[in-house]
């Protein structure tokens, strides 16, 4: 079997005495799209944040391409460059234009040449349909546009894995579509992604694998999303899915 | 420090405090009225009035109270407008404060999203009902922090009244120091009396602000 791109072993996370994540094991293969669902507070967002070293973990290990990931370690920056992340709230830098937002990290972190990076940025902007907004400031954009820029900003780092944390949860419904379309295209082109979402139709369409998280544990895992969404194996997942009218 | 001296000064300070507070609060009341009218003039874009209000607020916000008082007290009589020190203090403070209050209330009014008045109108309310029941209560509660800050600012500004020979706290302290040279005693009393005047306002203002914030957002 192919060696996993991202491996999580016995990941344990506590916060102020409460256990948030219990002994999570997961292997993510290259090109795989994993959708994580579960009730709010189940730890799914925290899980993504651990994978990017934004949270301290109290036990277990995370490996990317065989390299161990540790918060506060010297190599954290280089690992993070390989793991892109997009957050729920629009997190563009308000004092920089769209293009500057995209170019900042590749130029100062990866020390890439501005000219060629800019060409790549423009190509990516073209793909998400926002090339004409390159000189706008974030406050001039709609929520959906900001999220598409945030995705581009993550993509330009050439990440091996992309973490998407409820990226449509704060959007008006009519803007959700334009963002999901971008993500579906990424999946088609073979990007490796871990996606936390409440959009069930989207989850069904995009997932290679579904994780149902509850009380900090993987309560159910399915490599057949269609079957999972029609007939989950566990009662809890059935209850959870029933609460969504989709 | 000579306690007996301080006690003997108390009645003088008490009178000065009462005068300072009377003028301070009257000025603040005038300021609130001017502020409400002025902000309405700007918010509802009343022609001509809004430009006059704008000129007034800019003029009074960008000059010191001391200069305003000198102008009212020493300059206006030369063109036939005579005012007593007390009237000068009250209206000087009122005009200065009015300019600040106008700004505070205006930003309170502007902070209410348009959808609020639209949804109220869609419920069949008249425009004056919308203003009275929907806009005004919200504008007032979002203006409270600014209002409290302005009142404290105005009460502090009363300290320049001594220059137009009003017998306020500052005047009394200065007068007594000049007369008996009990500098420390006079200054300590001055601080104590300003605390009496301003500490309750500061504390109450904080409480009010906190309560309103809870009422508004429910947490």
């Amino acid at each position: 079997m192919e060696k996993a791109l991202l491996s999580v072993r016995k990941l344990h996370k506590e916060f102020e005495g409460n256990t948030i994540l219990k002994s999570i094991d997961l292997d993510v293969n290259r090109g795989e799209v994993i959708v994580i669902i579960g009730p709010s507070g189940c730890g799914k967002s925290t899980f993504l944040r651990c994978l990017n070293g934004l949270e301290d973990i109290q036990g277990g290990e995370i490996y990317l391409d065989g390299k161990k990931l540790q918060k506060n370690a010297k190599n954290i920056s280089s690992v993070r460059q390989k793991i892109g992340m997009v957050f729920q709230s629009y997190d563009l830098f308000p004092h920089k234009t769209v293009l500057e937002n995209i170019l900042l990290a590749p130029v100062i972190v990866q020390k890439r040449k501005r000219a060629e990076t800019e060409a790549e940025a423009m190509a990516l902007l073209e793909k998400v349909g926002l090339a004409d907004r390159k000189n706008d400031y974030p406050r001039q954009l709609s929520g959906g546009q900001k999220q598409r820029i945030a995705i581009v900003r993550a993509l330009i780092m050439h990440p091996e894995v992309l973490l998407l944390d409820e990226i449509t949860a704060a959007l008006d419904p009519e803007m959700v579509h334009e963002v999901l379309q971008v993500v579906l295209n990424l999946a088609k082109n073979g990007s490796t992604m871990l996606i936390v979402t409440h959009e069930m139709t989207f989850a069904k369409a995009i997932a290679d694998r579904v994780l149902f998280l509850e009380h900090g544990e993987i309560a159910e895992e399915s490599r057949n999303p269609k079957a999972f969404f029609e007939m989950p194996g566990t009662e809890r997942a059935r209850q959870f899915l029933k609460s969504f009218e989709y | 420090m000579d306690l007996d001296v301080m006690i003997s000064y108390l009645p003088l300070y008490k009178d000065a405090l009462l005068l300072t507070m009377r003028i301070g609060w009257q000025g603040a009341a005038i300021a609130v009225v001017i502020g409400l009218l002025g902000s309405a003039g700007i918010h509802f874009k009343i022609p001509i009035v809004r430009y006059m209000v704008y000129a007034y607020t800019q003029l009074f916000r960008n000059t010191p109270l001391l200069v305003q008082l000198f102008f009212i007290y020493f300059a206006l009589p030369k063109i036939g407008i005579l005012v007593s020190p007390e009237v000068c203090g009250t209206w000087g403070l009122g005009l200065l404060g009015g300019a600040y209050m106008t700004e505070t209330f205006r930003s309170g009014l502007d902070s209410i999203p348009k959808i609020q008045s639209e949804s109220a109108e869609s419920l069949g309310m008249s425009r004056s009902q919308v203003f009275r029941y929907v806009i005004l209560p919200q504008a007032v509660s979002s203006s409270v922090p600014g209002l409290v800050a302005n009142i404290i600012f105005l009460l502090k500004e009363t300290s320049v009244f001594s220059t137009i020979s009003l017998m306020d706290l500052m005047f009394t302290a200065k007068d007594l120091i000049g007369m008996y040279a009990k500098t420390i005693e006079c200054l300590v009393l001055l601080v104590i009396f300003y605390l009496i005047m301003l500490l309750p306002v500061s504390v109450l203002g904080d409480l009010l602000e906190r309560r309103l914030r809870h009422a508004e957002f429910g947490d």
């Binding site: 004092h95 | 601080v191 300003y194 500061s202």
Partner: protein, 224 residues
Amino acid sequence: MQSLGIDVLFKGTNFLRLLSGLWVAVRISLISVSISILVGLIVGVLMTSENRILKAVFRIYLEIVRIMPQMVLLFIVYFGTTRVFGWNLDAEIAAIFVFSFWGIAEMGDLVRGALISISKIQYESAMALGMNGKQVYYYVILPQTIRRLIPLSINLITRMIKTTSLVMMIGIVEVLKVAQQIIEANRRSSPNAAFGIFAVVFLLYFLICWPISRLSVSLEKRWS
């Protein structure tokens, strides 16, 4: 009707004297503002500290500045400390000390406000892009903090200039004092000069403060 004092203004060096009086007030303000901004930056960062003692100290400091009129502080420093410690204090030094004491508190509070208003997600998304701590501060946090602070600091300058009119009360000859002197000297020949002279002083203050406060407002609008 007699002249309202405009002729007095242009008699001899009167107008120049007024301007140099204004310069005294502006000079004291600029020195105090510079001290306030520099020290206020440090104090503001310290104010975000979780240390209890530090928090209590700053709380008391801010409350003193919030409720004590600057005039009272001026009297305490100029008349009170000279009496208690028996030293000779230059009035201008006393004024700069008091206005800086006030300005540092104001500036510190502004800095604290600006720092805590930058959301955690800004730090996190910068880190998620692989930036190290220094890069996050230099490229993401600092520019945003400074943008928020520049209009507020400019605003502090106008407030400082307005407040310095108080220094005439401790015997510094600034514009109001010069105005009084001019009016007094011309009382016979031009008894109504008070109107023209004080109107001009009013206007001078406005002409200095108004452009500065417009600048502050427009920067704030542009960067918000």
